[in-house]
Each structure stands twice: as C-alpha cells, then as structure tokens.
Amino acid sequence: MHWPIDIIVLTLVIFCAIAALSVRDLLGTAILFGAYSFLMCLLWTIMGAVDVAFTEASVGAGVSTVFFVAAIFRTSRRTKD
C-alpha cells in the first residue's frame, strides 16, 4: 500500500513549494524550503532510493536551510516583491 502515502506526501510537497514562493517573510520561506526538502527526502525513501534520500536530508533539509538562514541574518528579512 504505497499509493496513499505517496500521494499525501506529494500533495504536501506542492503545498510547501507554493507557500515558499508566496510567503513574504524570508525566514519563513527558508524554513518552508527545509520542509520541502524533507518531504522530498520522504518521497525518495518511498521510492527506494535511500542514498539519494540521505543526501537530500543532510544537504537539502540540513545544511542549505542553515545557509539560507545565515544569509537572511546578514541581509533583510522582508522581501520587496
């Protein structure tokens, strides 16, 4: 019974992607992007690509979120457009 989990996670991925684009607070965007990466990691795991999932979890959800937060810390938190 893979399908229901698959579809639920995929829906959440799309929600996260749209939210990350539309939220004006950049810190929130960074965190939503981290959530997006983590859900992608779940998707890779469901499809059996465990190595890719591991990379996605450590790089996408872990370190790159921290880099985004660090960059926001040194620039501004609100977006203009």
């Binding site: 465990v50 190595d51 591991f54 450590s58 370190v63 921290v66 880099f67 660090a70 040194r74």
Partner: protein
C-alpha cells in the same frame, strides 16, 4: 506583462506535463535505463568489487571520475565563497565586557585592543546571551553527531551514506557549535587555515589514491592494482580503495561546509555572527 508571463508559464507547464506521458512507468523493467547497464551492476558488483552496497560501488568505482570532479566542484565552491566574501580589513569598533563588573566598553579606535582573558571578553553587536538549555543540549549532542558522521563515512560500503553525507553531517555539527555558543567559539577551535588545508587535502587524497594506481600498473582509479601495497585479503582491496576515497570526500566536504557558513554569517570578517 504579468498576464503574458502567466500564459507562457502555463504553456510551458502544459508541454512538460504532456511530455511526461511518454516516460516509462516507475520501476518499469523495460525502460531504457534498466535495460543495459543496471543488470550488470546488480549482478556483478559484488563479484567485481566486494562491496555490498552497489550505489557506493557505482559512485566511487565504476564512475570514480565523476565523483572526483564533484569533489573538485565542492572545493571550488568553498574557494569561490572565500574569495568573494572574505574581508581582511578587520573591524573598526569593538565591544568588550568587563567580566567582574559587567560594564561594557565601546572601543572605537581599531589600533587599541584589550587583552581578552579573565578580565575582559568580546561582545558582538547583535549579541544575545546563549540560552543555557540550548548550550547544554548542543554540548551533549555534538559528539554524538560527529560519531554518527564518522560511522556514515566508514560504513558507506555497506549501508546508505558515504563521504559526502558524512562530511555534511560532520560540518553541520561544527555549525551547530557556532549557533549554540557563538561564532568566536567555533573560529577559536577550528582555525581558518586548518579548514583550507583540509579542503585541499580531501581532494588530494582522492586524486592521490587514484594516481597511485598508475605506477602500480593499472589505469587511473583502478583500485584493484593497489593490492601489493596493503596487507590482508586482496579481495577487499577495492572496498579499501573506496573507503580511502570516501574519507577524502568527507574531509573536503566537511571543511567546505564550515568555510561557506563562517564566511556567509560573518560577512567574511570571521569575528561575529549567528
């Protein structure tokens, strides 16, 4: 303009969705990707290399060149971050705190510096006292994260993971130290020069192991020819070669992650930041 952009995006999206209809199904055994090479890797990897996890074998042995230049790309990313952001000019003004009394001094002349020790300590402009709970929890967690990272590197032949993931996890444990205490704690413990040397040494280990194979009579990256150099069972030599290469990748990635973080968060000044 907005309307036009919307139409273009919708058209492109529709074309892409239409194109996905031609894709083979997920896990289809008749898809082109699994017709030619996949069978070979699945059946012969353990015979050829003695490594159970064939993702690692494909990444570091069959396609070793790819991973080597990937490591070089990571190294270049760290180098680029360093060259773009590093600022050697130093800070004009500094804040110090007199520890016994709690008085804060604002030194505007950059020639005058106070000795930091028992009496005075640095203060950042956006300094927030580290929370006791955060500090304690991170202090307990960091060694475990580092051990786990080493495990991920060392166990890459048998389970998911490898040099890249292990290096990222190790680097993020150091970044956690900077976040939970402050940036100076990290910079004091992990010197910038050391990080630069580590990043270069990691790439050098990979290229070095690959290059040693050539005087031993093999091709570049042909780990099987290293057997006379290493005592023990010659069947494990390819696994050992891969382990060495993974360690190189791990060291390089760890150093580059920390270099990028420190340079971004302190605007290249390496003294205060998140």
């Amino acid at each position: 303009m907005r309307f036009l952009a919307f139409i273009i995006v919708s058209l492109t999206g529709a074309l892409l969705l239409y194109g996905t209809g031609e894709f083979p199904d997920w896990g289809d055994p008749k898809s082109p990707a699994s017709l030619h090479v996949s069978d070979y890797y699945i059946e012969k990897t353990f015979e050829d290399t003695g490594v159970p996890n064939f993702v690692t074998a494909v990444v570091t042995d069959y396609r070793g060149f790819d991973t080597m230049f990937e490591t070089a790309v990571i190294f270049t990313a760290g180098l680029g971050c360093f060259l773009l952001l590093r600022d050697f000019r130093g800070k004009k003004e500094r804040f110090y705190r007199h520890t016994p009394t709690g008085v804060i001094l604002h030194v505007k002349d950059d020639k005058k510096t106070l000795t930091v020790g028992n009496e005075f300590e640095y203060m950042d402009k956006e300094w927030v006292p580290p929370d006791l709970i955060n500090k304690t929890v991170c202090r307990i967690l960091i060694p475990f994260i580092q051990i786990y990272a080493l495990y991920v590197v060392a166990h890459g032949d048998y389970s998911p993971g490898g040099g890249f993931q292990g290096g990222v996890i190790f680097g993020s444990s150091l970044i956690l130290l900077a976040i939970s205490y402050n940036l100076k704690t990290l910079v004091k413990r992990v010197k910038e020069k050391l990080l630069g040397i580590f990043a270069a040494v990691g790439v050098l280990i990979y290229a070095g192991i690959a290059a040693i194979c050539m005087p031993m009579g093999g091709a570049f990256l042909d780990y099987g020819k290293l057997a006379p150099l290493v005592p023990g069972d010659p069947h494990h030599i390819r696994a050992l070669g891969m382990l060495g290469v993974e360690i190189g990748v791990g060291i390089a990635v760890m150093a580059v992650m920390v270099i990028i973080y420190i340079n971004i968060v302190s605007e290249g000044k390496h003294d205060e930041g998140l």
